[in-house]
């Protein structure tokens, strides 16, 4: 029992802290709601420190329903980065839009509890519960700007399609349970290696479950919700949503297929190889045509999911390490970019997401433009920035597993993808402003931008700390 409590400790701590935040919300006056973000950040940092796994740490709880290990911890780091940058970056934006409510930060905080369950689950029922906790929080976050029609649309759309995908997942789960008689990953693996995969209902169940997870990581052809949801949600929320929930879905997916479907590796490798190619190519090609930066970044998020799927296909230790590292890096660069985007405004327009609004930014706000340039080149994977380390790791994983063709498709996609990131820099550096640009980063936004910039450079040049973090992961 004691061991089970330790295994679930991060979630327990986070729940206590979430209740604490609710209490603080009660006493905080309307102008002081940002304080909840600061408390949330402090709480998550405390949890992060208290749950550091020490040397080969792996604690199995509740008779194998969930574990707390270095793998889950690495993903917890991703969630924390997303929460810290995402909530701090939201402060100015929420104030400007007049929706600076405590709930926003509390719901973000709660969603992380769901994500923690997802990545530490070794039982399908726990995985499903975690997924729903996360998803329900995200639906609210997407529609948080309730006076804005696009945000409403985003929330509703996300809810309907999300519910649909959860249902598919659950339906598949019932087949798997029916065939194997268990929801534990290890027992499913045993059944598969004993009896093989050659059973229609099992195959159908697996495909439906994987499709349900593919929805969450917005892999093509399960992506159709992503562009609208991402571009409709409040900008800082989009930054968070493209990182944390996606990381959680990847974390859960990898543990599931790594442990439960290990005997059937070859068959799901093909499944994900196809998804990876479709996702990368579609995301990149459509992103080129976008003139709205937020929408462009939404499609770019799809293409990045495609790159990360290469790591899934590789099915070796480098593969899942690469995904965790990629998510950490992606968290810094993408939320950094979204924070700058969320502060673009000009006369009469409180949110300006058009590419043209970036014209001449390098003159009016040289430092902001430089940071955005670094984020864009990092997203494109140009060294010495962090994004390159992530891509390098992913491609190394693919080549190690002899998926050279997939790596080639990946690098060709990177070259194509580079173009739309460059378009932002073209506007910032090479074009004259059409009108007075206003992007005076507010203090909180400036801090987020600064932290993200520092890490984007630091991880690019000295990746050892984070490389070791993911190298120590064991599933």
């Amino acid at each position: 029992m004691g061991q089970s409590i330790i295994a679930i400790m991060p979630e327990v701590l986070m729940t206590f802290f979430a209740i604490g935040l609710l209490v603080i919300d009660l006493v905080a006056s309307d102008e002081k709601k940002s304080g909840i973000a600061y408390f949330g950040i402090a709480f998550i940092l405390i949890t992060l420190l208290l749950t550091i796994p020490v040397g080969g740490f792996k604690i199995v709880g509740f008779d194998g329903m969930l574990v707390w290990d270095s793998y889950a911890y690495a993903f917890f780091v991703v969630f924390s980065i997303a929460f810290i940058l995402g909530s701090l970056g939201a402060v100015d934006y929420m104030k400007r839009l007049g929706i600076n409510k405590g709930e926003y930060y509390i719901i973000l905080f709660l969603s992380i509890i769901g994500m923690l369950f997802m990545v530490s689950a070794t039982d399908l029922s726990i995985l499903y519960l975690g997924m729903e906790t996360m998803a329900l929080s995200m639906y609210i976050i997407a529609g948080f700007n309730k006076w804005n029609m696009r945000s409403n649309e985003s929330g509703i759309k996300y809810f309907i399609i999300g519910a649909f995908s959860s249902a598919i997942f659950l339906f598949g789960l019932s087949y798997v349970y029916g065939y194997t008689g268990s929801t534990r990953y290890a027992e499913i693996a045993q059944m598969i290696s004993a009896n093989g995969l050659d059973h229609l209902s099992l195959k159908l169940g697996m495909v439906m479950m994987l499709a349900g997870l593919a929805f969450k990581i917005s892999a093509v052809p399960f992506h159709m919700w992503a562009p609208d949801v991402y571009s409709g949600a409040p900008t800082p929320a989009t930054g968070f949503m493209t990182v944390a929930p996606k990381a959680a879905a990847f974390g859960a997916l990898i543990r599931f297929i790594w442990v439960a479907l290990e005997p059937a590796t070859a068959s799901w490798q093909l499944f994900f190889a196809i998804l990876a190619v479709l996702t990368m190519t579609y995301g990149n090609l459509v992103a080129i045509a976008q003139n709205n930066v937020k929408r462009m970044l939404a499609y770019s998020a799809i293409s990045h999911a495609g790159y990360m799927l290469i790591g899934v296909v590789a099915a070796n230790d480098l593969g899942y390490q690469a995904i965790a590292l990629y998510m950490i890096i992606y968290g810094f660069m993408n939320i950094g970019a979204f924070t700058i985007l969320s502060q673009m405004k000009n006369k009469g327009v409180i949110e300006d997401e058009r590419l043209e609004s970036f014209a001449g930014l390098s003159k009016s706000n040289p430092l902001t433009a430089l940071a955005m340039l670094l984020f864009m080149f990092s997203l494109a994977g140009i060294p010495p920035l962090a994004g390159f380390i992530g891509k390098f790791y992913i491609f190394a994983a693919a080549i190690k597993s002899n998926f050279v063709w997939l790596a080639i498709v990946g690098v060709l996609n990177s070259a194509v993808g580079c173009y739309y990131y460059m378009r932002v820099t073209i506007f910032m550096y090479f074009k004259e402003p059409e009108y007075e640009v206003e992007n005076n980063l507010q203090p909180a936004g400036a801090i987020v931008t600064f932290i993200a910039t520092v890490f984007v450079i630091l991880i690019g040049v000295f990746p050892t700390f984070f490389v070791n973090l993911v190298k120590n992961m064991v599933i």
């Binding site: 140009i382 070259a415 550096y429």
Partner: protein, 497 residues
């Protein structure tokens, strides 16, 4: 300082850029500070040149520190006879390009000089890195400042040119990255040691099929950079649109990275594939020589003419390298050096006159030699050097290349020699139309070169004659390294037979 001289050389410009960024606010102050920094960098190259041991093919001034141990990635630097001249060329041309931009660059001066210094760090790093990962980082990182230099300070079609330059180079290098990763795993599988160390990776013989895959990926990356026909289409755009300093660095240093890549990676790591692909490379080189010259002939824009002449001259370099004999390779390296000096100088001269006339169209000039005699003399010197007049640098380089390639594949050498004649045609014809004939009355008040311009042209003029009259000063650096390289590849050649 001599212990970490290579690290100092790489990071001094970056550090200087950072200090300047923090403490210098005005464009003028930044400009001077950047120039001083680049001159200090050039002076710091001197101990490297003087203390270089010419009697060995081994890497010198080696620095080796673990960097990302999880992947066997090291911070590994070293210099040998192949790279030492390139370092000198880089630091020299950067200082000259900065001095040459004083009046040319009028807008956003501060950013321009910072970009130049950051660029210098990348360029020096490429020539010194002995770890594939480190090499790749410098190789790509350099693109960002160059992209900005073309895109912000370039001509009317600068955006198109900058994007084209960036994407072309990126596409080539990404495949190279895959080849590097493949080498890493292959080397690990063969020896059990997983490392990105270039020397260690080069010490293993790989299966022929694998070599072909690696070679093709490298080839694409380097051929785009050189650029070899048919991958050259980015070059005229980038060279013409870039500001003078950008063109000088592009032609003088960036193109050399492609040929340097062939020498440093393709020949030692994939000798079997290199030997197999000799006919392809020799053919493409000869096409580049002839085609570049023919296209240069019909250009109406002087800068474009010089740009196409680069394609032609770089063809000689690749031809010489793939002759696989000492004369050819030494000629190739010397030609890399010469081309950097000569084409750099020509771009500077074109930029210099453009500042005064705001045109580069040949037909709009005419007879200006009477108005700007000193400028005309400078231009004549480099025109002659470019067409390989004996006693000038270009002659020694092309002559050695032709000697080497004649021994290896005489048919190609004969066609290449025709290219030398074409060079005389397009350069002299252009010179005649610009400087002689009747004076175009528009240029009645044209001013001759000033002191600053003489200062930055002088070292180039001295060097072009120095190489032409006493090439041993420069070739002596490379004898051992080239001999070693040739020995290894000839041994593979014999083994194949």
């Amino acid at each position: 300082m001599i212990d970490n001289i290579l690290t100092t050389l790489i990071f001094f410009p970056l550090l200087a850029a950072f200090v300047i960024f923090l403490f210098f606010r005005s464009g003028k102050a930044t400009m001077w500070a950047a120039f001083v920094a680049s001159v200090i960098e050039l002076i710091m190259t001197m101990p490297l040149m003087f203390n270089f041991n010419k009697g060995t093919a081994a890497m010198q001034f080696v620095e080796k520190v673990d960097w990302i141990p999880a992947f066997g990635i090291q911070y590994h630097l070293g210099v040998d006879g192949i790279s030492v001249l390139m370092i000198f060329l880089t630091t020299l041309l950067t200082a000259i390009a900065i001095l040459g931009s004083f009046t040319y660059i009028q807008k956003r001066r501060r950013e321009f000089y910072l970009a130049m210094l950051v660029l210098e760090t990348g360029m020096v790093g490429v020539f010194l890195a002995l770890d594939f990962f480190l090499f790749y980082i410098f190789w790509e990182a350099m693109l960002i400042p160059m992209y900005l230099i073309i895109g912000v300070w370039g001509g009317p079609r600068r955006i198109y040119a900058a994007v084209k330059f960036f994407l072309y180079t990126l596409a080539g290098s990404l495949l190279m990255m895959l080849a590097i990763i493949a080498l890493y795993f292959k080397h690990g599988a063969i020896t059990g040691v997983y490392t990105f160390d270039i020397l260690q990776i080069a010490s293993v013989t790989y299966p022929a099929e694998f070599q072909i895959f690696v070679f093709l990926a490298f080839f694409l990356g380097f051929a785009i950079k050189v650029p070899m026909f048919p991958f050259h289409t980015w070059l005229p755009d980038a060279h013409v649109e870039a500001p003078t300093a950008g063109s000088v660095i592009l032609a003088g240093v960036l193109l050399k990275m492609g040929t340097y890549g062939f020498l440093r990676f393709c020949l030692p790591i994939t000798p079997i594939a290199s030997i197999k692909f000799v006919p392809l490379i020799a053919t493409l080189s000869v096409i580049a020589i002839i085609y570049g010259a023919l296209v240069a002939m019909v250009q109406e824009d002087i800068k474009k003419l010089v740009a196409y002449s680069s394609v032609s001259h770089m063809g000689f370099v690749t031809l010489g390298i793939y002759a696989f004999n000492p004369a050819g390779i030494e000629g190739g390296i010397l030609q890399m050096f010469n081309h950097g000096i000569i084409t750099g100088a020509l771009f500077l001269l074109v930029g210099l006159i453009y500042e005064r006339t705001h045109t580069r169209i040949i037909n709009e000039y005419g007879g200006i030699a009477v108005k700007v005699p000193v400028f005309a003399t400078f231009f004549l010197i480099f025109t002659m050097a470019s067409i390989a007049l004996p006693s000038m640098g270009g002659f020694i380089g092309e002559f050695l290349v032709l000697v080497g390639s004649f021994q290896a594949f005489s048919d190609y050498a004969i066609v290449a020699a025709i290219g030398v004649i074409f060079a005389a045609v397009y350069m002299l014809w252009m010179y005649q139309r610009v400087f002689f004939h009747k004076l175009n009355p528009k240029w009645e008040k044209l001013l001759d070169v000033n002191v600053r311009e003489v200062i930055y042209m002088a070292p180039l003029i001295i060097l072009v004659f120095w190489v032409g009259l006493y090439p041993e000063t420069f070739t002596s650096y490379m004898h051992e390294s080239v001999a070693n390289l040739v020995e290894n590849i000839q041994a593979v050649k014999v083994a194949l037979k």
